[in-house]
Amino acid sequence: MQITRRDFLKDITLAAAVVGLPGWAINLDEAPPATLRASAPAPYPWQWTPPQNLGQGSPTVTALNRIAFGPRPGDFERVQAIGVDTYIEEQLAPATIDDSALEQQLAKKYPTLKMSAVELYQNYPQPAPVSPQERAFRAFRAGEQGIKPQQLPGPQDVIQELQEATILRAIFSRRQLQETLADHWSNHFAMFIGKDAVKWMKTVDDREVIRKHALGKFGDMLLASAQSPAMLAYLDNHLNVKGVPNENYAREIMELHSLGVDGGYTQKDVQELARVLTGWTVKQPRRALLGGMDYTDAGQFIFNANQHDTGAKIVLGVNFSGKDGINEGLKMVDVLAHHPSTAKFVTKRLIMRYIADTPPPDLWNRAAQTFTQTKGDLRATLSVILHSDDFKNSFAQKIKRPFELVASMARATDMQVEEMRPFNATIRAMGQGLFLLLTPDGYPDTGTAWINTGALLARWNLALITAYGRVPQAKVDFKAAMSGANIKTVANAVDFWIERILHRAIPDKDRQKLIAALGANANANFDIARLPDLVALILASPHFQYR
């Protein structure tokens, strides 16, 4: 896929406008680096201060804001009709939902999604390094001939396609629980897509680890992740060899993927588990004897017995003689997947994603019990969480993060989005770049981590840009949306748009504020020129920031 300079400038302009990037970032011919913090902070520890009176929520609104990336026009009415529990059951069985239109679009726009590891390496090879002089010369020649600088397919295309496909799916897939879960597990098994082989292999990981097991058995997902070429490269276990073990992955699989930091392991356990996992590596592309590259089996997980530490080990009280090769690691992944601390940790994060920053203790216990009893069955565990009263009564307990905000805005405004690049840049600029967090802890999922002065300004600007129809290569048609309704007065318009975007009544004082913002009294004729202002203010209001 070719990105023209014009397109690129448009993306950056949107992103820059949203967060206020400096002018110099707009005039460069290359993408600005992912200006991410090296580390996102741990969840803000104290309780979210309750908002002003937001009015009444409803289980339907809550279900669509949590299970889905917000309602599209028509969704609310449909779920009202079939009932929230039926909707949950439907979403828990994504295979039964017809999503073929989206699948076709994905296959056409993003061919890398279905490629094997070898195909990805072969079709998108690492470009040979180019000297600055050569680059300048090529740019000069391109300018002289009035053509675009030639861009060979490379790993940046693989990354770009995966990011864009993720956004496209979030906005348009009918399997919305599958999409919010994919986001959740990508964050649980977070990795920085810019590192080494991850550039190519994250696409495989997204397909074979995250999406394949999102509603399956947790143990299967944990093992798939442990043998995922992307994870092996990201956390350096492909370099973990006997004699000089690399502890990076051994630590994170316990701290971040299974037991949790307080899950009851020691530094000694980390060192011993690293020894257990020595030799777990991945087949790399290599130089062929006769020039060129040899991609045979590249990206395949392999167990290299020669690099495996054959000494005796003890991890979490489990003894290994050292003679069992790969079985030691398989055993430990199994032990971790079914450890009581893992049941607590995994369910805590799921409840934080779908219900509240602080998990209600009773539900947390029930979810952890289900997880344990079903040997880590994620569909059964989620069923307990989503069918609970805690879920239905959790209106306004969660704040939208940038990805959720962008997707929900596009959905609420029925935006026809042709190209995902502008949104991809925007999400990155707002601090939640997809697969771009450098550290493996994942983005925080608490309101206090995402609401601060800079973030609110970005949210308001995004609302303005959306409502004014200034998102590049995307269309909104608010007049058409209103065409069937009989809208004459300012009050009519305000009520229509509150219902259409929020699907619930807001306190009268807020309704009056919107009327006042249009510079009129409730019974004045509605001036259609103020329509974007009205939509912008609803999207920018505190009401729309909750999921």
């Binding site: 820059a16 406008a17 967060v19 206020g20 990037l21 400096p22 002018g23 680096p33 200006t35 991410l36 913090r37 090296a38 580390s39 996102a40 902070p41 741990a42 104290w46 201060t49 908002p51 002003q52 350096d236 370099l239 060899v241 004699g243 000089v244 690399n246 502890e247 990076n248 930091v261 530094q267 704040i399 707002m430 601090g431 450098l438 550290t439 309101g447 206090t448 609401i451 601060n452 002065t453 800079g454 973030a455 609110l456 300004l457 308001w460 600007n461 303005l464 840009i465 004014y468 807020d510 504020k513 919107l514 006042a516 913002a517 510079g519 202002d533 203010l537 920018a540 505190p542 920031q545």
Partner: protein, 443 residues
């Protein structure tokens, strides 16, 4: 009206400080009050806090070239002993320690005695997890996550300053640093120049007014919204379009360089900055760390260039600025088989400012022999990071109640690296409690 001391007493008596912020009333968060005048006195120094995220290798930042065990442990990564006119070797400081060659821009500041270094410093908690270690350090309570506020947040909370600017505490980046957490809401700022609503100016004025009414209220999101609108108004007053650093200062052309440039700009504008935090990530050099050149050297260059530019840019203001740079822990002494280093324990800290007794590497050297190492083979800690920060808080930030800033730590051993703040300014204003706050006074 209450003066500072009595307000603090009141807060203490009511247990608000002691309980952290779990129960603080919303109205204690910075209320909407006009910006402090340009010449409003600051009680102590402006604090600039830099966090090197990812565990920076103190042994290659500040090289113990007098320790032969350093060379034994690092056959490919060690920096060579200082040689004159050689930009690949360590730069000697005192015959035992030397700077990484890419820290050369800081040598002049060190020689001018405005830069002090502390070595073998860190947190006593044994964790080798980045996230835990950063968390503990930013809270200022190693091994304890019971208190939800950060050490700088608590410091600000106690001062009950007359400064009501939304820029009293600034966190550069998308998210506010954990050390700033507390009832004084910090402003997260990515860039000064574009902190405004995007659109036709007159129309945006209407939108801004409407947002101000929609964001009325006491909740977290509403108070943050009010602060955002206040900050927009205040920043509009700074002419920021063509900021030119003074004295030929050249910041690194990177997000970190820009963050420090923006901090300098805010400080000079007199908008009320008391504390600013910025981060530089990428120090987790497990693989191909490099030595005089390479991955880590490029980061060091970015760091040194930016700190030197900051110092030059604010030359006339350094007497009221203290900058501290720290990292969550150091790296393993023995290099690994990937020409990198794994997670360690002790590292180095940098303290820069006009009130700092610089030109010296502080701290006892524990040695790098087998018996001297900590845990799996790490540099031991001989100075607790709270000794350094505590001294800064007490002597430079004019806050002597260290028990509140670093609860649970009782054995402060100051290194003597800071001069006592002499020009202690009496606050010109007294704090006005927001009218709607009710503090119960126990019988």
């Amino acid at each position: 009206m209450l003066n500072d001391t009595s307000r603090r007493e009141l807060l203490k008596r009511t247990g608000i400080l002691a309980m952290g912020a779990l129960t603080f009333p919303n109205s204690l968060r910075v209320p909407r009050i006009a910006l402090a005048p340009k010449d409003a006195p600051t009680r102590g120094d402006i604090l600039v806090c830099i966090f090197l995220r990812g565990a920076a290798d103190g042994l290659n930042l500040v090289v113990p070239h007098g320790d032969k065990n350093y060379y034994a442990a690092r056959s490919t990564l060690a920096l060579a002993q200082p040689k004159a006119n050689n930009d690949q070797t360590a730069i000697d400081l005192d015959g035992f320690f030397g700077l990484h060659p890419d820290l050369r821009p800081l040598k002049e500041i060190f020689d001018a005695r405005q830069l002090a270094i502390v070595h073998a410093v860190g947190s006593p908690d044994p964790t080798h997890s980045h996230f835990d270690a950063m968390d503990y350090m930013e809270r200022g309570t190693p091994g304890d996550k019971g208190i939800p506020t950060g050490w700088i947040g608590r410091h600000l909370q106690m001062l009950a300053s007359e400064n009501k600017s939304p820029f009293r505490a600034v966190g550069m980046g998308n998210l506010v640093q954990q050390s700033l957490r507390g009832p004084v809401t910090a402003t997260a700022l990515q860039s000064i120049a574009d902190f405004h609503l995007q659109g036709d100016a007159r129309k945006m004025q209407q939108i801004q007014t409407a947002l101000a009414s929609l964001y009325e209220g006491d909740g977290f999101i509403e108070t943050t919204g009010q602060q955002t609108l206040q900050a927009m108004n205040d920043l509009a007053k700074i002419t920021s379009a063509n900021y030119a650093p003074a004295n030929g200062a050249k910041y690194a052309d990177s997000p970190f360089g820009k963050a420090l440039l923006n901090i300098a700009q805010l400080i000079k504008s007199g908008i009320g900055v008391e504390v600013a935090c910025a981060d530089l990530g990428g120090w987790d050099t497990h693989v191909q760390q490099g030595s005089a050149d390479g991955q880590m050297a490029r980061l060091i260059e970015e760091l040194a260039k930016t700190l030197a530019a900051f110092h030059a840019d604010l030359r006339d203001e350094m007497k009221r600025i203290t900058l501290v740079a720290m990292t969550e822990f150091g790296r393993r002494v023995q290099e690994n088989s990937n020409r990198g280093t794994d997670h360690g324990h002790g590292s180095a800290m940098f303290v820069m400012g006009g009130g700092i007794k610089g030109g010296k590497v502080y701290g006892e050297w524990p040695g790098l022999g087998k018996d001297n190492l900590y845990g799996p083979g790490d540099l031991a800690i001989t100075t607790d990071f709270r000794d350094v920060l505590g001294e800064i808080v007490q002597k430079r930030l004019a806050n002597s109640d260290l028990a509140q800033v670093f609860p649970g730590y009782k054995t402060f051993k100051f290194k003597g690296l800071a001069n006592e703040q002499t020009a202690r300014l009496e606050p010109r204003y007294t704090i006005e409690l927001p009218f709607n706050i009710r503090i119960p006074v126990p019988a």
